[in-house]
């Protein structure tokens, strides 16, 4: 057989499309369900994670030297904004877009989280809670994990301001 660029291209396109079609067929039936089941639209799932308060006990397992670590971005407004961006990208899928809790992750607005030291939150973020489904997040560089902690800590102030406004 003589080499033909056109033949080769056809082979490549055919193989790619056949593979892609198998993916398409796999994803098609689930894509609609995925769209319907985003945390925003399916509040019934919130109860599952929110009711399970035992997960907050993980925060208390942070060792003393981890708990006493200070956030290098304390009082840094940019860190809160960057942390919000990172939270939306990596955490909102489980904990909800506003950290209110989702199907897989608990609310991060609860007292147990808001009262925890920044170091303890950083420790949980770094080590995950693997046996309960939370992956380790040490793949995010340390400064990014601290930025997420800054955002989480800012939620308390946001709630305080909004409660004052409502009064």
């Amino acid at each position: 057989m003589r080499f033909s660029l056109r033949n080769c291209f056809q082979h490549l396109v055919a193989a790619t499309l056949l593979t892609a079609s198998s993916v398409g067929l796999l994803i098609l039936p689930t894509s609609a369900a995925l769209a319907k089941n985003s945390p925003k639209q399916q509040p019934d799932g919130l109860a599952q994670a929110k009711d399970d308060r035992s997960v907050y006990a993980e925060i208390a397992k942070a060792p003393e030297n981890a708990r006493s670590k200070r956030n290098p971005f304390e009082n840094d407004a940019d860190a809160v904004t960057a942390g919000r961006k990172l939270f939306e990208q990596h955490c909102a899928e489980c904990h909800g877009n506003m950290a209110e809790g989702g199907k897989k992750g608990p609310s991060l607005r609860e007292e147990e989280v808001q009262r925890a030291s920044p170091g303890a939150l950083f420790w949980v973020l770094t080590n995950g809670v693997v046996r309960r489904g939370m992956p380790v997040w040490s793949k995010l560089p340390e400064p990014q994990r601290w930025q997420i902690v800054s955002f989480l800590k800012s939620l308390r102030e946001t709630e305080h301001v909004s409660s004052l406004n409502s009064q």
Partner: protein
């Protein structure tokens, strides 16, 4: 030995395939996505597993140069699913085109990775177990082991594809991330279950670092923190009968990953053969996208049937 080559017709392009490919593209835009921080490695594994319930769909290509034969383009799809936070399971299908020869399906793989320790430690081990069913024309070079050398791939596809391999492969994935640097080392041992093959050994190792450690407050595609640069090295270490570097091939490959906020990841890695037994150039690229809540959606879909 010169084997007469049969004329191969181009594979058919049925309308359904085109339609399904379009469906794939459309569904990716309308379904829930997750933005993972993917490493740039293509051969090496770090200790991070897929998030539970998420499906990562990946496409990779490898263009390789070949002495005394046609260059090749091998490609594969990966479906990586986070079964648990400590267990990731992955299915591959792969194929290749050898220039001046033909295109053919070369096999499938099923791999599983198990995280051993619950928390982060100085070194984080992950156990990797894979079953492969492939033919001798497989050229994706996803791992290099034993006495794999470039000349093994020089024969015609029609000849290579007559060899059928059922292989079990075990890896110990050791990885550590510190101050933004990830360092990973993966020793491997593989056994062709067909009779008479000894255990084969190999290695892969890599190091990577994001271009910026701190995230910028703006949502942006080109922020430096979205790029992770690294380098990986991999090769064979002989087999149980002749362990060592004699008649083995080795590669060094810089690698770059671009994690887009939209959930897509692009990877590029030009690899270079380090000795005469290696392919001169192994250029790889890939695109992947992670779908959040895939497992839950499948459960709900099946529950409705």
């Amino acid at each position: 030995m010169q084997i007469p080559q049969t004329e191969r017709k181009p594979l058919p392009l049925p309308g359904a395939s085109v339609l399904s490919a379009l469906v794939l593209l459309i569904s990716t835009f309308f379904s829930s996505y997750s933005c993972a921080q993917e490493s740039p490695y293509i051969v090496t594994y770090d200790h991070y597993l897929e998030e539970p319930g998420n499906l990562d769909v990946e496409y990779f290509s490898t263009f390789g140069t070949q002495r005394a034969s046609g260059d090749f383009h091998a490609f594969w799809m990966e479906f990586e699913y986070g079964a648990k936070a400590w267990w990731t399971t992955e299915f591959y299908v792969d194929a290749q085109t050898t220039f001046h020869d033909s295109t053919l399906f070369t096999g499938f793989r099923w791999e599983n990775r198990f995280r051993v320790l619950q928390r982060e430690h100085f070194i984080n081990p992950v156990i990797y177990v894979e079953y492969e069913q492939k033919n001798g024309a497989d050229k994706i070079l996803k791992e290099v082991e034993g006495h794999d050398v470039a000349s093994d791939y020089a024969d015609l596809n029609s000849l290579l594809s007559q060899e059928h391999d059922h292989e079990l492969e075990f890896k110990l994935l050791l990885s550590k991330t510190f101050k933004g640097w990830n360092v990973a080392v993966n020793p491997l041992a593989g056994k062709n279950l067909s009779a008479g093959h000894p255990w084969e050994f190999g290695y892969a190792m890599g190091a990577s670092h994001p271009l910026a450690l701190r995230a910028s407050p703006n949502r942006c595609n080109f922020c430096r923190e979205n790029f992770i640069a690294g380098v990986e090295m991999y090769g064979g270490l002989g087999d149980a009968e002749s362990f060592g570097l004699n008649v083995t091939s080795h590669y060094l490959a810089p690698a770059l990953a671009w994690n887009l906020p939209s959930g897509w990841t692009l990877r590029l890695s030009p690899g270079f053969g380090l000795n005469d037994n290696s392919h001169g150039l192994v250029l790889r690229w890939g695109v992947s996208r992670e779908f959040a809540g895939f497992g839950e959606a499948v459960r709900q879909f099946l529950g409705r049937l």
